[in-house]
Symmetry: C2
Subunit: 704 residues, 2 copies
């Protein structure tokens, strides 16, 4: 019948449209034998349906089983008549109640999956202390089915390692997404609150499937308008839609809102009228959104207003908002991504310098949000030195899911390994084994989501949303395993498809590092929109907005000396880490030029001189993209045509741009080093001036 339906529907345009909208929740029919086996365990669903979250869990399971197994399960709210899936909490299910003690040990968001015998039937329990845990457990179970896992001797106990798992949307109120490459903002402020687009619910489902439990709706370069009554009514409508899925709404707050909205003459955090304004605003927000999460703030950074405008500290500013939110249980996420107007010796040192002294000065509901690295979401950075340096302050790590510096939405770059590298970095602050992940209270990902049909601007960029969510739940989860789950759920569980896709994905980030910024180079992109190479970028308002500031290439060598003889950024790390980075012999080669200014003829691990190695890496990056193209071409016929042709088109675009990065970078660095190309390397097809002259005034995502 499926076939018949497909034949018929193919012509009415309603055949399973593999346009990417369904994300990793496609619930496509499984192999008949496997489906039959699962059906013997899962013919019936016993679940409560009293609360919105209970209904969401029940409906997701029905949707998933119906699609995967080709048949809707029998539904039941209490009694068991056959092998069944039993959902519930000790409060919501008499069948689960006996397990109360064991279950409550899992914590508010945890869950367990396990077989049990009840009323003479073998059942599969999806049990949790709270409704939301049951929903998470349902998604876990569906993932097991989507990936073809065995249910025998199933014994799963899960709890999130991080309390706050948030998306940050850099969305403006006019629908423009800063650094967005997936269309317009998902939030249609013009039609809210009246129109509640079903897509908002699918957004919540996708996040809940990963355990993401919060979302900041608006850009950190915030408009005060987002705190005005009409926009709060719109945000409240979204909060109502997200609530059953365990997702709290947060807002970016503009520090000067008391002036712009309140008509005050100052936003001084120590001014009583300002303090009253924020208290009243918090009260107003919580009357509309009882579970409002709190504020995210970018202050005194890149022109944003902040407490330093009044001679106050970041702690004064953060505590102002924290005091207003505390009575309601809200938090302030205060970004450490700051740099002063007067350019310092090394921008990489600045956040640490400004914040480390404030450790202990923040109210308990303030969390300092620190980017993964000390500069700005580069293809590769060392971990941020503030991790481990503020023991008395809760910290969140901010990573970018949108690929501002990694080829936008058109380059296939799987960020799982980048996140994993940052999370597993050993700060050595308490000797061995104090990884960044262990020091975190939460994690925030700058979303790559827009109104594009694929959500993320490309099919493979969905994997970065997915990997972020999985790592937010469990930062120790290997990014390769996450890639395998994603590929199986997004395409098909067949290993002949999953395995090559995983290889492509795991190779892709290193490819981008190679064709953009190899060996620890960073910040070499074009100015403003950051589209394409710009190693020659110089001049302009700030030295630390140029490329030459960062690569420091000259006739003799290349790299930023951040050792004790240079900016001494290494001194911001723990002694053990500092000693390793300080020593040219011990510094990891992938970070070599981040920490050292190195002569062109320095001998590399490969035995080649640095200059040869650098050019070789650029060329290797292009070759890696060609390899991804070949792998993908080999999957034709095994991946649905609609997505195969789109990914192939994007890969050829990536190939063209990788070559452009390689040629422009080699042309530039050769003009500086004055050295001949290594044997076997082809010269760039155009002179350097040709690359320098390229203009892209309409490149997407530019800050406005």
């Amino acid at each position: 019948m499926l076939v018949a339906a497909a034949v018929l529907l193919a012509f009415t345009g309603n055949v399973r449209a593999e346009d990417g909208y369904a994300l990793w929740m496609r619930y496509a029919p499984l192999q008949p034998a496997l489906a039959a086996d699962y059906r013997t365990h899962l013919g019936e669903v016993v679940s409560p349906d009293q609360t919105p979250t209970q209904r969401a869990a029940r409906e997701e399971l029905v949707r998933g089983l119906s699609g995967l197994l080709g048949r809707a399960p029998r539904m039941n709210t209490a009694a068991i008549a056959a092998p069944a899936v039993v959902l519930g909490t000790p409060q919501s299910s008499v069948l689960i109640a006996p397990l109360r003690k064991e279950i409550e040990a899992l914590g508010d968001e945890g869950y367990l999956l396990r077989h049990a015998h009840i009323d003479g039937h073998t059942v599969l329990l999806v049990a949790a202390p709270q409704d939301i845990g049951v929903l998470y457990g349902v998604f876990h179970l569906l993932r097991l089915l989507q990936t073809g896992a065995s249910l025998d001797a199933l014994e799963v106990r899960e709890s999130p390692r991080l309390r706050l798992r948030l998306l940050n949307h850099w969305d403006n109120l006019d629908g423009y997404v800063e650094r967005g490459y997936a269309g317009r903002s998902l939030w249609d402020w013009q039609t809210l609150p009246e129109w509640r687009d079903p897509r908002y619910t699918d957004y919540a489902r996708a996040n809940a499937s990963l355990g993401i439990n919060g979302t900041v709706l608006n850009n950190v370069n915030a408009s005060a308008q987002s705190l005005a009554p009409d926009y709060l009514a719109k945000a409240a409508a979204l909060a109502d839609i997200f609530r059953p899925y365990g997702i709290r709404v947060y807002l970016s707050a503009r520090f000067s809102a008391p002036i712009e909205l309140g008509g005050l003459t100052t936003a001084d955090p120590l001014d009583p009228a300002v303090q009253r304004w924020w208290r009243d605003k918090a009260d107003e927000i919580y009357t509309r959104i009882p579970d409002f999460g709190g504020f995210l703030v970018k202050a005194n950074s890149e022109g944003q207003p902040g407490p330093q405008d009044y001679g106050r500290s970041h702690a004064d500013g953060a505590n102002l908002l924290a005091a207003a939110l505390a009575p309601h249980g809200g938090v302030v996420m205060w970004r450490a991504f700051v740099y002063a107007h007067d350019v310092p010796a090394d921008r990489a040192t600045q956040a640490y310098t400004e914040f480390v002294g404030l450790d202990g000065a923040f109210l308990p509901n303030v969390i300092v949000q620190v980017k993964n690295g000390p500069i700005d979401f580069q293809p590769r950075e060392p971990f941020h030195p503030l991790f481990g340096a503020m023991p008395r302050t809760p910290l969140m790590m901010e990573v970018q899911i949108t690929k501002e510096y990694l080829g936008f939405a058109t380059h296939l770059v799987y960020l799982g390994p980048l996140y994993e590298e940052a999370l597993q970095s050993d700060t050595r602050v308490r000797g061995e084994g104090a990884t960044v992940a262990q020091l975190l209270t939460g994690i925030a990902g700058v979303a790559n989501i827009g109104n594009d049909r694929t959500w993320s601007g490309s099919h493979f960029d969905q994997a970065n949303w997915y990997a972020f969510g999985r790592l937010a739940w469990n930062p120790r989860h290997p990014s390769r395993d996450i890639a395998a789950d994603w590929a199986a759920m997004t395409f098909t569980p067949s290993p002949e498809v999953v395995q090559p896709i995983v290889e492509m994905m795991m190779d892709s980030r290193e490819a981008a590092v190679n064709y953009m910024t190899p060996l620890g180079l960073h910040h070499l992109m074009a100015r403003g929109h950051h589209y394409g190479p710009g190693p020659w970028v110089d001049g302009g308002p700030r030295a630390d907005w140029t490329s030459v500031y960062y690569h420091r290439a000259d006739r003799h060598g290349i790299g930023f000396d951040r050792t004790a003889h240079g900016s001494n950024a290494v001194g911001q790390y723990s002694p053990e880490v500092a000693a390793e980075y300080e020593d040219l012999a011990r510094a990891p080669e992938p970070l070599l030029l981040w920490f050292h200014h190195v002569p062109w003829d320095h001998r590399m691990a490969s035995g080649r001189p640095l200059w040869d190695e650098l050019v070789g890496r650029y060329t290797q990056g292009v070759r890696q993209v060609q390899g991804m193209q070949a792998t993908w071409a080999g999957l034709q016929g095994r991946v649905d045509a609609q997505r195969h042709v789109q990914v192939a088109a994007f890969l050829s675009l990536q190939r063209r741009e990788a070559q452009w990065w390689r040629d422009a970078s080699v042309a530039y660095f050769q003009s500086v080093s004055g050295r001949p190309l290594p044997a076997g390397e082809t010269a760039p097809p155009h002179p350097l001036a040709w690359y320098e002259a390229l203009q892209f005034p309409s490149a997407p995502g530019d800050g406005r």
Copy 2:
């Protein structure tokens, strides 16, 4: 099986998604009895498949018949084995060849549908002189089936009345759509030319279904970049996709491009270097796009560069580009929407004043593009006085499909009657019966299309795209009949659904006139974004960008005196028309305040004084929206839930904003007239100052 499929697919998210994407080409299954009857005539399709257009026609027919009749037809390329649909041209089909003489009389884009007897079978001929006519005929046949029309004694002969039937996209290269309310631009310049989104083909299908035969891809406020080689390669990719559907690509040209792209020091149309640059650019374009349509130009208007910057005339400027395009068969569409920097007595008179003297001065491949009315796409305007005033110059009419001044995408306003009113206006230039439509060479509609899933930002705004296309093909087609076709194709052919929807649609434009600008008032919207009422708008850079300039309300009366005693705009019309507009007694009441300044106590046709009539109209507009809400509520269960709930949400938003328009306008005009509200009229809930203080810095579509 369909039911079974629906049940199954409902859970896999693949049930017929009534999200609006399919537009009026849903091809939903017909009533079984009707489908069975049609199948007896249409069991087989005999069509050639040698050219892309032939394949497009064949595939559309298969898609349509399969969906509507629930069964794919047998396909055949020549012989006839059963009652069949026979597609072809005298060149492509031996079965059609005998009709060559009769068919060629239909012209290049015409077609005929008729029964015939061939090889002992009754067949339905879809015959045309060219492949494109066959495709148009297929869409005509499918429309007959979708609306449940009888095929007995079918005899259709169709040819378009206008040669140029174009969409104008005001899309910027960064994806922003000026005055767009349907998301981002459909053109993803970043992924072109590699990625050819299937949506581009659906866009072409939708336009071909209406006979639209050209599209201007970029904003009239143009960037020179759109003429640069990389963007021409992207435009060429779109042209390749559109070509089989009879759609030619045009570009808006920035007059100063020779300076910005060519590095020249001038764009003077009489400068030989400038002339050479445009000739070379035209040659370059035609090597990439052999059937390139030509240029659309906005010059010396609202700050755009133009020939007057060099002391040359609009004719000099238009002829410069026309000379470059002429060898390739391209045209220049030169917009008459111009007004000088020094504000004149009456902006309504300005286009006429600047252009009428140029009649005869343009090269033959120049077409002057004139807006439907003398101001700017207002809810109601008289026809533009240039129509009929330039007998030696081909003219196009430009109308707006996007609703910049009619409630954006969130108000249900069917524009069919507005277009019909403009097209059927009698210019009386040759005595009776010289309608605007009869004087036109072509028509352009400013598109309301974006990447929103509904294409147009709402379900009912699709009807405006549809009505524009149908009227472009046949300007005499009654807009009510077009509404009925659209409703039947978009929702269901059942009369109990179609009839009330048509009533809503036909009432909707007058409703908007009433709650926004009744009795000939115009240009009363808020400044800049044009969102909501702003009758109080005054000051700023130009008097003719204010509301008070247009309504001229004072203690004694209201309206713009455009009679001989005033600006004498009436003098720009033919004597017969001028005499009617000039006479307060004869001027049509819907245009009264456009042409006359009228005392508040002037007795109206209703017998009420003007003040009472004005307030009554505002209130009536709100009541009309309430009526639309009631009608729509009555259709619950007869229209699919997905679209019913969205339209209902949009109508409640429209109701709220109509009330806002009414209250703000009444509050303002009462502050001017000083008169009491008529009996039975409720006072606005807020003082005037409250309405004046409202700010919407993020309203969509604002010019940037």
